[in-house]
């Protein structure tokens, strides 16, 4: 029964009373009852309960969002007795995308290799296919077209950057591409490993409880501690694996001195740290699934892989999609590992966008730092929105 239809204690007294011009004790009692009743009105009560939380959100999230946008469009300087904020328009973004910091943020642009062209053209064809299919679907809306146009523009720009930097002939990825690499590879590996571990944990093997705890340990360690640990592990001179490096004739090879070695070390550290998060969420999903369907499949003669692929996996797809989204958003902000492990080096090979923002912030270049952070926000918003609009609904439909 909808709450709105629930009678309150006072309604039984709401009989026609004296005229408004003759207020008396009864009228006062009725007014008071009405007033109490209004507060019990679900619509009003909803506001009472929601607004405090909304105000906190506004204070803690929206205000910094607006303030940092102001910073991104300004130049902050120490000044006589305080500081000055000079509005500079898009100068910080211009510097980031076309000026002195482009080389770091977007990377070094060189003509695409064959693989670069293939990726760019292949991506373009894929986008065209998706668009055409949408236009033919009969569910076309103005908002849908605008959203897809923006998405295609963003994806095209990204593919062009990828083709000219990471896949360019002599090109080099900037912090934006490197961060996306961390997100895609890190989150992907974390999901696969986390799913595997969760699957193993529900197999009623001996030591199940022990390993359930052990698998969670990395997430309890501070990220900076993990970074120092991996720095030690990759030290081929005095680290624990030094004898192995020596035996392999790699004593003079520095893992962290190589661009891809450094990026790989960051990814491995990130995977080691965050796999437990995905593991525990997927474990909860697996343990809460309906096993009768699986048993039915078993009775019908399905193999273990078939049961997993066609019954178990679809059942945990909604929770998988959500945990991937959360982890993706979090991964975009990676800073601890590259900062401690390599300082973003060699050069800027392992530098993330957040680390780039921090470098500017540390030198009190707040405008530039905010511009970098806002650029990241835009990218994350596009990715998260596209994921939430395009992927999540499909996963739920598939599960329905």
């Amino acid at each position: 029964m909808p709450p709105a239809s629930v009678p309150s204690n006072g309604t039984t007294h709401l009989t026609p009373g004296p005229a408004p011009s003759e207020p008396g004790p009864e009228q006062h009692a009725r007014d008071q009852a009405r007033s109490t009743d209004e507060w019990r009105n679900p619509r009003r009560a909803r506001n009472v309960f929601l607004w405090p939380a909304l105000l906190v959100v506004l204070l803690l999230a929206i205000f910094p969002l607006i303030a940092s946008l102001g910073l991104a469009l300004s130049n902050v300087q120490l000044a006589q007795g305080g500081f000055t904020i000079k509005f500079t328009g898009l100068a910080n973004f211009n510097n980031l995308l076309f000026g002195a910091e482009r080389n770091i943020f977007l990377g070094q642009f060189k003509p695409p290799t064959i693989l670069g062209w293939t990726t760019f053209i292949g991506g373009g064809l894929l986008m065209a296919y998706v668009l055409v299919r949408y236009l033919r679907s009969g569910r076309v809306s103005a908002l849908g077209i605008v959203g897809r146009a923006l998405g295609i523009a963003a994806l095209t720009a990204f593919l062009w950057m990828l083709a000219n930097t990471l896949l360019g002939d002599g090109g080099r990825p900037g912090t934006l591409t490197v961060t996306i690499l961390y997100v895609v590879l890190g989150t992907g590996l974390e999901y696969l490993i986390g799913l595997g571990l969760a699957w193993l944990t529900i197999q009623h093997l001996s030591g199940q409880r022990f390993f359930r705890v052990v698998f969670l340990l990395p997430i309890t360690i501070t990220p900076v501690g993990i970074a120092y640990m991996f720095r030690m592990l990759t030290d081929n001179q005095s680290g624990p694996f030094a004898p192995l490096f020596a035996a392999a004739g790699m004593s003079n090879f520095s893992v962290l001195g190589d661009p891809w070695g450094a990026r790989l070390a960051v990814i491995i550290g990130d995977v080691w740290q965050w796999t437990p998060f995905i593991f525990i969420v997927l474990l909860a999903g697996l343990e809460g699934r309906d096993i009768e369907t699986e048993e039915a499949g078993l009775v019908d003669g399905a193999g273990r892989w078939q049961i997993f692929r066609h019954i178990t996996l679809p059942m945990i797809i909604p929770v998988s999609a959500t945990v991937i989204l959360i982890r993706t958003i979090e991964a975009f902000k990676i800073i601890d590992l590259p900062s401690v492990l390599t300082g973003g080096g060699p050069g800027t090979a392992s530098e993330s966008v957040t680390l780039q923002a921090f470098q500017s912030w540390r030198a009190f270049n707040l405008g530039s730092s905010a511009a970098v952070a806002y650029s990241l926000l835009i990218v994350v918003t596009i990715v998260a929105t596209a994921y939430a609009r395009l992927v999540l609904p499909r996963t739920h439909r598939a599960n329905a």
């Binding site: 910073l71 500079t88 958003i329 979090e330 957040t354």
Partner: protein, 549 residues
Amino acid sequence: MSFAKNRFVIGLPIIALIVGACGSAAPTAAPTAPPVTAAPVTLPPVTAVPVTLAPVTAVPITPAPETVAPPTSESSASPATSAGAKDFSGVTVNVVTFTGPPIAEPLQRHGAEWEKATGGKINVTTAPFSDLFQKEATDLATGTNSFTLYTMSSSWLGSFAGQGYFQDLTSLVPTYPGLQWDDVVPVMQSNSSFGGKIYAVPFDSDVLSVYYRTDILGKDGVAPPKTWDEYLTIAKKYQGKDLNGDGTPDYGSCIEKAKGGVGTWQFNGVFSGFVQALGTKQGTFFGDGLTPLVNNEAMGAALDFWKASSDFGPPAEINLDQGTGRGLMTSGRCALNIDWGDMGTLPLDPTVSKVKNVVGAVVMPGSSKILDRATGKLVPCDATTCPNAVDGINHAPFNAFGGWIGAINAKADPKAQAAALDFISYVSAPEQSNPDVTTGVTGEQPFRVSQQDPALWIKAGMTADVAKNFLDTYIGASLNGPNAALDLRIPQANQYTNVLEDTAIAQFLAGELTKDEAMKQIFDGWQALTDQIGRDSQTAAYAASIGAK
């Protein structure tokens, strides 16, 4: 489960996204090494050591040897009759410094002494070095004014002093009882001043030097390097040789080149020898109209050396940080390195060193060519172009970081200001600083004329020869050198050197940029930053920082 029911689940991450992205503008700390000074080193006589260029020390930071006990203040029983002798009962001085033990340790130790003597209260707040500038700038700029006494690199004075944040001490410091201002070496008097006014009290100094293994070079009759070409020759000779007898190949040179570390200070120590020859007031970083001197043959020569030296260092030198680099040097694995004066005292501690009394220091090598600022070309040194050259070699010992100083908040209560001045004067006074500068754990290095007394250093464990050699070099040839190069001390100096220059150099080392691209990137970045801040004000600040007219 329907999609509608999951809206909340979907919405949560989106909100988290917004909150998270807001926070990403100000992430957490990153490492970096604050230059902190220490005491000088020893150096047994080496046959071919040039007399005129005796060893010198420098400054940097680092985990000081915790096994070494802090020095006993000569006046700990009875604080100086001047500073530390007044009554400051009920007055609290809030001090901010970086996470020690270097620098923080002597402040805390002397704080307790000062409290006992004056009745005042000292609260020392520490922050990671990488956050310290931001912490102090934010506190001052926003008017929070949480602190009375700000300890910092003297190179930051350019960012703060001109804004009226600090108390003008010009009329107080020179005559402050017990401080003995005239005893402070001129370069540290200068580093504590800005625009002709004194804003701080120094308790440290910072000059870079090259350190070398006297036993190894002496045995082979090799003189310590006078030029950077000689440095490479020596490094090449010892690369891959076993230098500490453990049977494993070691390194000719160990330079801490990690991005975001101390490498840019050391790089500028190489660069300064190619670009500054006419004395301290000529400056190292800018020419007329504040045109950066970073896109020319001098910068090219420094970059060439920087990359070439990597061939004779540990395989991970591109990521070598200060702690690791010093560990390699004190464990006997390097023939040469560039360092501050900490490398003087660290080898003396047997608990962390295998090279006690076999590490010598020499003034930063230089060049027989100097930059012609009009053409951007390197030209041979002569009496006109390099008036301070020694044997035809121009040296410009670099005051990297410029020493730790203490400045007082102009907005603080006058009683607290007076107490802060008394406290920092107490720390700086010879009675306290003399034993401090000879002890590695303090992170302080000599900054007074009186600290040139060999007896102090002999008492600390040096031989007479080593002490004389060190002092002649560190104070005589470097701190007091006529061509000493000053660190950049203009507003946002950090952004110029520790971000823009540091990044380009790191990219050059990693092969991401060519030499020309790196120089252009630094030049363009500096020009853009200068225009953003204001060319006229920056020009005036630069002139004031080097004492030029």
